[in-house]
């Protein structure tokens, strides 16, 4: 201590007297704001029901999705086969449940993967700037000109329709477009005074990226995630339709809709049940996204209120 210094601390002697008061955590606050938005809650319920259906239905179903019922070929919905059967005798109820399960797994895995990678890479490139930023952008721009769908088709065909390989490839070819968008958004964030303030407090760089930059593009990430789910289902459908995606005996919503579309006039149930599952999935995701954005965004109509 230098001579004559009388710098006192801001009263450590009073610190002990204060009892730590219960503070509402951020998550409590967010969930309260989310619950106020009724359509979002409805979306969440639908999504939960779909997930539950995908998990529980195969256990309850009387038929396996591979099992063929030769007594009921191409039958419409009945007491025995709730969603009807295919011309080969597959139970559509079991197929839709398994297909939804598969599609959900692919879509959520791909969307989580791309969102996380693109968000971290995009904001980190913007924050650290300099050489790191230049190299990242070079890589992104290079990947943008690679014919990715062709690669995807090749690899997924090689993998024999394994959904895990398909998801991995879809993540690898899907992260850089959103990363480029997020980078441009984050460019304006890195000049914000609170980012400077955090740096001047001695907060480490990666922590600033995760604590200050990422949450402030949160609504964009939420939208990215939802669109990612929808896009992943679409890509997977396209692949399955072309015969490169999930392969029989495994089924996904994409392959079911693809085969159901061929018989839409003679056996419409083969198309409508998987299509309805797909629609419910995407609509519910959109409602949830809307609610999340309002809950997370302090500038939204809900305001800064608790």
């Amino acid at each position: 201590m230098p001579r004559n210094s009388i710098q006192p601390a801001v009263g450590p002697e009073t610190t002990a007297l204060r009892l730590p008061r219960k503070r509402m955590s951020k998550w409590e606050l967010y969930s309260r704001r989310f619950r106020r938005n009724r359509p979002a809650v409805a979306g969440l319920v639908i999504f939960a029901v779909l997930v539950l259906f995908a998990v529980v239905a195969p256990l309850l179903a009387r038929f396996d999705h591979i099992e063929l019922d030769f007594l009921n070929l191409g039958e419409p919905p009945s007491g025995e086969h709730w969603f009807g059967t295919t011309s080969a005798g597959n139970d559509t109820f079991a197929q839709v449940a398994i297909g939804l399960q598969r599609s959900l797994m692919i879509a959520v895995a791909v969307s989580v993967g791309t969102t996380v990678i693109s968000a971290v890479v995009g904001t980190a490139a913007a924050y650290f700037s300099g050489m790191f930023e230049r190299l990242t952008l070079l890589l992104i721009h290079f990947l943008m000109v690679v014919p990715t769908f062709l690669l995807l088709a090749m690899f997924s065909n090689d993998s024999g329709g394994d959904w895990r390989i398909i998801s991995l490839i879809m993540i690898l070819i899907g992260w850089f477009f959103p990363a480029r968008v997020i980078w441009t958004m984050a460019l304006s964030l890195r000049e914000r005074e609170y980012v400077h303030a955090a740096r001047y407090m001695g907060v480490p760089g990666m922590k600033i990226v995760l604590r200050h930059m990422l949450p402030n593009i949160g609504s964009l990430l939420v939208i990215n995630f939802t669109l990612g789910v929808v896009a992943a289902v679409m890509i997977e459908t396209g692949l399955s339709f072309l015969g490169f995606g999930v392969k029989i005996p495994d089924v996904s919503l994409g392959s079911l809709i693809g085969s159901g579309a061929n018989t839409i006039t003679s056996a419409p149930w083969l198309f409508y049940f998987p299509a309805a599952a797909l629609t419910l999935l995407t609509v519910s995701m959109a409602l949830v996204a809307d609610g999340l954005r309002d809950a997370l965004d302090p500038t939204s109509a809900a305001g800064g209120r608790a």
């Binding site: 004559n4 210094s5 801001v10 204060r18 001047y200 402030n216 302090p298």
Partner: protein, 686 residues
């Protein structure tokens, strides 16, 4: 009595909004005669700009307007946009705050001037051109023929505002509405522009409505003053009368809240507590009652009318306060001031001479140059911008050092150099004895950062909108590894310290007003018990009455905690109030440096003298009689390395020097000379 040029009667404006109808203007009446100036003052949201937009007929379609506006014998309300267009820009013109956005960037200023001239009357191209040049000459733009072809971005802020005034003068208007015409400009430029507006007024004989939040500007320009609060006029009087015989508590508070550049003795400013009310569903009560120190029960029962409290000798003086007859001159009621002076504790350091206190921040020969690059692919270096040219200073414990200067002089760059802990090529930065050159590695840097913290100018931008106030204030604590429980109690303590309610700590920053947000920023800066707090224009974004509270808080904290401040500001009155030592910066170098009283009482450098004389003083008697040094021209470019004194091009002393002395100014860089630590200046002849 002649017929007034503009007569506004019971004007009311309300906007629909999601939360209800906002009554932005709730009944305002005034008359304005040709050649007179009406000053409308009030804080942001008081309805002063809405009033001017209503007169111009520039409000949205969905806005409800009632009352009457008569201009030059015609009723303006109810006229169609087309009919109004014939009046706007012709008899009735407006000068906006931001000169950059009121000029079209894609047309050169000659085209814009000629458009203004030809839109209302037939004029040949040649005649319009000649008249445009004449106008540019009138507003003092050098070399007008050449500048006619220039685009708005090629002009500085002050020059752009001159062009805007030239366009306003184009059709010899009868009424000029100036909405905060100088707020975005530096003080020396502000003085030029205010002079220019009064010149435009005297040449065209127009009436002027001067809308501002700056009491100094009102004192300088206005004949009559209208003080607005919550959409209503609360006091209306001739300027002299209003400043000396104030009768409404809000006006008294507004005047008491302004730091004075001409007052040496240091007394605390008088902040007006609380915030203006939301203009939605206001109850029938005095809107100022919740902030008023002399409130009585009757104030809550009905809203007071604007009544004449003047007498034979002073003429008309209207005030909206039921106790206005009890208030006497000098803002006293029953012999006591309406706003009691707050107590600021005396610093324990005050008794210790400066030389005996430890140095908390020392800067030796700081320089910063930015390379000027050109070319998209292969960048070539064209030259250098010398943002800082070797400055040195030290700050001792419990001391406030202020750096003042116009925008672009390098004061913010100085702060960033310190905050970025930039290693100096031929100098050093020492923070409580530790040189930034010795700091290697994250841990050492974090330890050093504990001692120096920053408060930013924009109270909104500096707080992460996604974090609760508790998290914001705790962030520096978490960065140095304080435990969660400890930092939570510390957050409560800090919120108490800066005058915020700790029970609000789980709200988001958007739930707080500007002044409260700035307090959050200050609490965050104090979290780690720093020795030096760097303040980057901490009050310039706040309203006057709020600003006073924050300044008092800074004063109080300094005394309580023995802090050192490095304070950067362009507002010299605030600096005079808060600083112990001042450095005046011009083009990256100090031109004068010394103790605050020395600099303000006895300014030696011509630039300091000009800067001081440019500040408007909120007292019409002083303001209108004092001698003013008006600087010509703008800040020079920092690109070229000047051989001599960088101020010579604008210097008023330079002009009267004999040629051999002028040669010395141009050929030799003046060093800072004078008594060390007391008063030094960089002028050869002072």
């Amino acid at each position: 009595m002649t017929n007034p040029l503009l007569s506004v009667r019971d004007l009311k404006v309300s906007f629909p909004s999601e939360t209800g109808t906002v009554d932005a203007v709730r009944g305002i009446s005034f008359d304005l005669e040709a050649g007179r100036t009406l000053g409308i003052v009030g804080e942001s949201g008081s309805g002063k700009s809405v009033t001017s937009l209503a007169i111009m007929g520039l409000l949205d379609e969905n806005v409800r307007i009632s009352g009457s506006i008569t201009f030059d014998g015609q009723e303006l309300l109810g006229k169609s946009d087309k009919q109004l267009s014939a009046i706007r820009g012709n008899g009735l013109v407006m000068i906006f705050q931001d000169p950059l956005s009121s000029l079209t960037p894609v047309f050169n200023i000659g085209d814009q001037l000629i458009e203004a001239l030809t839109v209302h009357r037939k004029l040949s191209k040649r005649a319009a051109w000649a008249r445009a040049i004449e106008l540019l000459e009138t507003v003092g733009i050098p070399d007008p023929e050449r500048r006619m072809k220039s685009f708005p971005h090629e002009f500085s802020g002050g020059m752009r505002q001159r062009v805007v005034i030239a366009i306003a003068m184009a059709n010899k208007p009868k009424l000029i509405i100036a909405d905060e015409p100088t707020t975005a400009l530096d003080v020396t430029i502000q003085a030029q522009i205010l002079d220019l507006i009064s010149k435009a007024q005297s040449e065209t004989g127009a009436a002027v409505i001067m809308i501002t939040h700056d009491m100094g500007v009102v004192a300088k320009t206005a004949d009559d003053v209208l003080v607005m609060y919550a959409g209503k006029p609360v006091e209306k009087a001739p300027a002299h009368e209003l400043f000396h015989r104030t009768r409404m508590p809000y006006s008294i508070g507004l005047l008491g809240a302004i730091p004075r550049v001409d007052k040496a003795e240091k007394q605390p400013l008088v902040p007006v507590k609380g915030n203006p009310p939301l203009l939605i569903n206001l109850p029938d009560a005095c809107p100022f009652a919740s902030r008023c120190p002399i409130v009585i029960d009757a104030c809550h029962t009905r809203e007071p009318d604007l009544v004449d409290v003047g007498n034979e000798e002073v003429g008309e003086h209207h005030a909206a306060c039921i106790r206005s007859h009890e208030i006497t001159d000098g803002g006293l009621i029953d012999g006591h001031p309406v706003f009691p002076l707050p107590d600021i504790p005396e610093s324990a350091l005050a008794g210790i001479p400066r030389e005996d206190r430890p140095v908390t921040l020392e800067v030796r020969n700081m320089t910063k140059t930015f390379p000027l690059m050109k070319g998209a692919f292969l960048k070539r270096k064209l030259g250098e911008v010398h943002a800082i040219r070797g400055i040195s200073f030290d700050i001792r414990e419990g001391e406030t050092m202020a750096i003042v200067g116009e925008s672009g002089c390098g004061k913010t760059t100085t702060l960033l150099q310190i905050m970025d802990l930039v290693e100096q090529v031929d100098g050093d930065i020492l923070i409580s004895g530790t040189s930034v050159a010795d700091v290697r590695g994250g841990q050492a840097e974090r330890t050093l950062r504990r001692d120096v913290q920053i408060v930013f100018q924009d109270p909104m931008g500096a707080l992460d909108p996604r974090m609760t106030v508790a998290d914001i204030i705790a962030e520096p604590l978490r960065a140095i590894g304080t435990t969660k429980v400890e930092s939570e109690t510390r957050v409560d303590e800090l919120m108490d310290l800066v005058g915020l309610d700790p029970s609000h700590s789980n709200r988001f920053p958007s739930a707080f007003s500007g002044g409260q947000r700035q307090r959050i920023g200050i609490a965050r800066a104090l979290a780690t018990n720093p020795k030096v707090v760097v303040l980057d224009e901490p009050v310039s974004a706040l309203d006057v009455s709020i600003q006073a509270g924050v300044i008092n808080l800074l004063d109080e904290l300094k005394a309580k905690l023995g802090l050192s401040y490095l304070f950067v500001a362009h507002d010299l009155s605030v600096v005079r109030h808060i600083a112990d030592r001042v450095a005046v910066m011009y083009l990256g170098a100090f031109v004068e440096h010394g103790s605050v009283d020395e600099i303000f009482e006895n300014p030696q450098h011509p630039y300091t003298q000009a800067l001081l004389s440019a500040i408007p003083i909120p007292d019409p008697d002083i303001e209108r009689t004092r001698e003013r040094i008006v600087l010509t021209g703008d800040l020079a470019s920092a690109t070229d390395q000047v051989g001599g004194c960088s101020f010579a091009s604008r210097c008023q002393l330079f002009k009267v020097l004999p040629p051999e002395d002028q040669a010395r100014c141009l050929g030799e860089v003046p060093p800072l000379t004078g008594a060390e630590n007391a008063h030094r200046n960089a002028c050869h002849f002072r």
